[in-house]
């Protein structure tokens, strides 16, 4: 077995920003006193003239991003998911979403895998919050390679984007020549008994779950939903129609995130049993990230259980 390389998606974000720094002079990066953690400090080091630290003032940072975008810049504004999507929700809604500005929110430290800092910093609600903003695109990459590709793709798209990155080093699953397809869910393994729609670090867990299911004679289709909004409805509906049941897997509250989005789409277009693996509408707690993921049911084992149960609901 080859060695598994692990890398946090926030590292991919920084690599994407560095690439953009070299290739696109319109790219400006903002942070709110977390540049070391979000990794934007790497961009700052290379391009100090196009990096602004707004200090611990996320609401103002979003407004600054709006003003800069209205001056013709492509702005990446970074903080932890909690403060970007939560603290500055209304600024994103009214000063970015409503005027549909070219602002990219680079939110790192999403989900429960923040670990020891505990519930105050573990944002399991950001995708739900961002989904309700008209015109917002939401991307949640599965690994560092995809994170880099998504960051570069986001700069080419004219409009607001919320990108969620993680703190924890997670397995790299894509090759270096991976092509990010904007808005397209990606079938990673074909299968016909159950469709597992996963996003973020749960994509790797879904792949492991599919292996285990295979050993039990169950054929699982694993789909990487990196773009949660707009949802690739065609891919989701096809998967539901062809597999007959669905499991969603996300490091997010089961309310309002990928699971919610999939249920909304399927209930209107192709009613299908859906079981949601995610944080079960509760706050997190302090602890090592990997332990917490198991504790809150965010792992391959829980996906396997859900898949087997989903099949019985067909």
């Amino acid at each position: 077995m080859a060695d598994i390389i692990t890398k946090a998606t926030r590292m991919g974000y920084a690599e994407g920003l560095l690439y953009l720094g070299e290739t696109d002079e319109k790219v400006v990066v903002l942070d709110a006193d977390l540049a070391g953690a979000t990794q934007t400090a790497k961009f700052k080091q290379k391009h100090p003239d196009r990096f602004f630290d707004c200090g611990i003032a996320e609401q103002n940072m979003i407004g600054i991003a709006s003003g800069l975008s209205l001056s013709g810049f492509t702005v990446f504004a970074s903080s932890f998911a909690m403060f970007a999507s939560g603290r500055a929700y209304e600024q994103i809604r009214n000063s970015v979403g409503y005027p549909h500005l070219n602002v990219k929110i680079g939110a790192t430290h999403g989900g429960i895998s923040v670990g020891e800092d505990g519930a105050s910093h573990q944002c399991n609600e950001d995708i739900a919050l961002m989904r309700t903003i008209p015109g917002m695109t939401i991307i949640n990459p599965a690994d560092a390679v995809e994170a880099k590709a998504a960051t570069i793709a986001a700069a080419k798209y004219d409009g607001p984007v919320y990108m969620r990155f993680g703190r924890l080093a997670v397995p790299v699953i894509f090759d270096r020549d991976y092509k990010f397809e904007w808005g397209k869910a990606q079938v990673l393994t074909e299968g016909s008994d159950v469709a597992i729609l996963a996003t973020g670090l749960m994509v790797n867990e879904a792949l492991m779950a599919a292996e285990q299911l295979k050993n039990d004679g169950i054929s699982a289709r694993v789909i990487n939903v990196h773009t949660i909004k707009p949802l690739d409805e065609e891919c989701v509906i096809n998967a539901a129609r062809e597999c007959g049941c669905v499991v969603t897997a996300e490091e997010h509250n089961v309310i309002g995130g990928l699971g919610g989005a999939v249920c909304e789409t399927l209930s209107e277009n192709c009613p299908t049993p859906v079981l949601r693996v995610g944080v079960d509408d509760e706050f997190g707690r302090s602890g090592p990230a990997v332990e917490l993921l198991h504790l809150y049911g965010l792992d391959a084992a829980h996906i396997v259980d859900a898949a087997k149960k989903a099949i019985t609901l067909k």
């Binding site: 400006v28 003239d49 196009r50 602004f52 707004c54 200090g55 003032a57 609401q59 103002n60 979003i62 407004g63 600054i64 991003a65 709006s66 003003g67 800069l68 975008s69 209205l70 001056s71 013709g72 810049f73 209304e90 600024q91 009214n94 000063s95 409503y98 005027p99 549909h100």
Partner: protein, 285 residues
């Protein structure tokens, strides 16, 4: 200030006020009080100070304007219409579903609007971002923003104020429309932000106090704010809420209420009388 220019600005300010009354009357809603208190400053900005081109509202080198106190959009719309950004008839359709004039300014819908605002405290941050953007592009346009005096109770205003001073954005001029009234009462009754001047001073801004209804003072204040000394400038304009319509002056209830038919007629005739008076004076010279 030149006498003729001053009279011209006074007349434009009255026309803006008439548009405020007309718009809110037809919409049966809106915010006349604070719109009337900023009308003189709006006239000064759009008919004297700002470098804008109504034929080319997105002209890259234009001065920028952000109405951070977005609820007083009727005054902005009056100024934009009179300046030629769109036909003045549109004012009568303010707040109607078919109009491009929203209850609060919308960047995507209205020609001449530089930023969508309405949720208090947010406009100034966008203005600061624009000032930073101008510097990054080596452009020498100015960015103007008007805040309500109640609005500065929003913490975001002070986040923006701190950042603008820290980044030495001397291409930014903020105005605080100090009419001393907010929805629930006087500023002191609600949650006093005073002393406003000392707060901005402590945040590292140039602070200029002026009478927001006296064009000589307004002109002196903005001229002073033009100086580039590495600090953003704030003009604290002492104003009267409801200015120009006698029954609305100093009256908190006119913050967010539209005039009814009789009130409309009374307001319009009062404003028209004053306008005719000025026009007569102008004709005599």
């Amino acid at each position: 200030m030149d006498k003729n220019l001053k009279r011209e600005l006074e007349m434009q300010a009255i026309r803006i006020r008439m548009d405020v009354i007309k718009g809110t009357f037809n919409a049966k809603s809106g915010h006349p009080g604070g719109s009337l208190s900023v009308s003189d400053i709006m006239a000064y900005l759009y008919f004297h100070k700002m470098n804008v081109d109504p034929q080319n509202p997105d002209w890259e080198d234009r001065d920028r304007f952000v109405l951070s106190k977005g609820h007083t959009a009727p005054a902005l719309y009056g100024a934009l219409a009179l300046r030629g950004f769109f036909p003045e008839e549109e004012i009568e359709r303010l707040r109607k579903p078919t109009s491009f004039l929203q209850g609060h300014p919308s960047l995507r819908l209205t020609p001449g609007v530089d930023m969508s605002t309405g949720s208090l405290g947010q406009g100034i941050s966008a203005a600061v971002g624009m000032a930073l953007g101008a510097r990054l592009k080596n452009k020498d346009y100015q960015v103007y923003t008007i805040l309500g005096d109640g609005e500065i109770q929003e913490g975001q205003v002070w986040e923006a104020a701190m950042f603008a001073a820290a980044k030495k954005l001397d291409n930014l001029v903020a105005v605080v429309d100090n009419n001393n009234l907010q929805i629930d009462g006087t500023l002191e009754e609600v949650n006093s932000p005073y002393p406003i001047d000392k707060k901005f001073e402590a945040f590292g801004w140039n602070v200029i106090n002026c009478d927001g209804h006296d064009f000589d003072e307004i002109d002196a204040a903005f001229t002073f704010a033009d100086k580039k000394n590495g600090k953003p400038s704030v003009i604290i304009a002492k104003t009267v809420k409801g200015k120009g319509v006698s029954y609305m002056e100093y009256a908190v209830e006119w913050h967010g209420k539209a005039p009814k038919q009789e009130e409309y007629e009374e307001a319009m005739s009062e404003l028209q009388d004053r306008l005719t008076e000025l026009e007569t004076l102008a004709a005599q010279e």
